[in-house]
């Protein structure tokens, strides 16, 4: 019997279409396969990237370039655990005062494009109306930064993505996902538009010409001189990338959703 086309590929175990879209096999793909498009990768599953005091996180270095946000005040340090995020490692922020700060920005600023990805659990209840930041960078005020955060809308936890234009901030409020529990947050910035989505779902867009400043980068808090809007829950991974091709975005999405146990 002669086999052709799809039958032949199936018979000899060729990689599926998804794996053919990017470099590396499906089994071995990691964010490192993004190459120079990967600008930073804070990965809680790499224990060597942490400097700990007990189980408190003093420094968390990104695995790609070593950017290392830090926290010198003991009471402000988040806590590392090997099992806190879907049975996997995570850094838990208490929602009261925990954050990590990098007093520089090695990422695209001004109107330059980037993507911000956060794989995290959100544990604040809807009755708590406090805004809570997972990841942000830029200047010290809303009009000069890029920020992924949680807020409450009509009694439901929602993902929001704000990017400032120098005068004010365009704020996207994603109403299609209840941001309770583990979710994958994605913010996309281009020179004239921003977009936000959760778990690879429907994207919400807005027009803005970003005017991102260059003061600091924060995990778990906003970029104000006195940090506020603290995240509550565990964070497993944060990535900053250049704008990704659709195939690479799909691979990264699948990789991170697997970690988070997200359907």
């Amino acid at each position: 019997m002669r086999l052709g086309g799809a039958q032949l590929h199936q018979a000899i175990g060729q990689p599926t279409a998804l794996a053919r879209l990017g470099s590396g096999s499906r089994a071995s793909w990691t964010p490192n396969n993004l190459g120079t498009d990967l600008l930073a990768f804070w990965d809680a599953e790499r224990a060597a990237t942490f400097t700990l005091a007990g189980s408190l996180v003093t420094t968390w270095a990104d695995a790609k370039n070593g950017y290392a946000p830090t926290q010198a005040i003991s009471g402000f340090k988040p806590a590392y655990s090997a099992t806190t995020f879907n049975g996997r490692p995570g850094v838990t922020f208490d929602g009261t005062d925990d954050y990590l700060s990098l007093e520089s920005i090695p990422f695209p600023v001004g109107a330059n494009a980037c993507e911000m990805w956060v794989l995290a659990g959100q544990s604040a209840l809807p009755a708590d109306a406090t805004t809570r930041t997972s990841f942000a960078y830029g200047g010290t005020v809303a009009s000069t930064r890029r920020v992924l955060y949680r807020a409450v809308t009509s009694g439901v936890n929602r993902l929001r993505f704000d990017v400032g234009d120098g005068s004010s901030a365009v704020s996207l409020n994603l109403l299609t996902t209840d941001l309770s529990g583990n979710h994958l947050q994605r913010g996309v910035v281009s020179s004239a538009q921003i977009a936000v989505s959760a778990d690879g779902g429907t994207e919400l867009t807005g027009a803005v010409v970003p005017a991102t400043g260059s003061t600091r980068t924060r995990i778990g808090g906003n970029t104000a001189n006195t940090a506020a809007a603290f995240w509550q829950g565990p964070i497993n991974a944060i990535l900053v990338t250049n704008p990704l091709s659709a195939p690479n975005a799909a691979l990264l999405l699948a990789y991170l959703k697997t970690r988070g146990g997200i359907a």
Partner: protein, 89 residues
């Protein structure tokens, strides 16, 4: 949310006393200090993180409040979280 100790306006000296006690009993000996000297809530009250279970996780476990902690807290009020000041724009 973590437990913190709130000191009313006018009780700054009591807040300093508690912070000094926390600094002396903090197991994180490499930290600059336990909490900032001047952390205020939205009402101008001094806030010092609680050095005890619910305020500190140490080596994965709730940290038991060291002996003398209750006395050190003095007039401070233990509560979960606090109202943060509005961000300056």
């Amino acid at each position: 949310m973590s437990l913190v100790v709130i000191f009313a306006v006018g009780q700054e000296a009591a807040a300093d006393t508690y912070l000094a006690w926390c600094n002396a009993h903090n197991p994180d000996t490499e930290a600059e200090q336990w909490y900032p000297d001047n952390w205020l809530d939205a009402h101008g009250q001094r806030v010092v993180g609680y050095l005890g279970p619910g305020g500190l996780i140490w080596n994965g476990m709730p940290f038991p409040e060291p002996e003398g902690g209750e006395a050190a807290r003095g007039v401070g009020v233990l509560q979960e979280g606090f109202d943060h000041p509005e961000e300056d724009e």
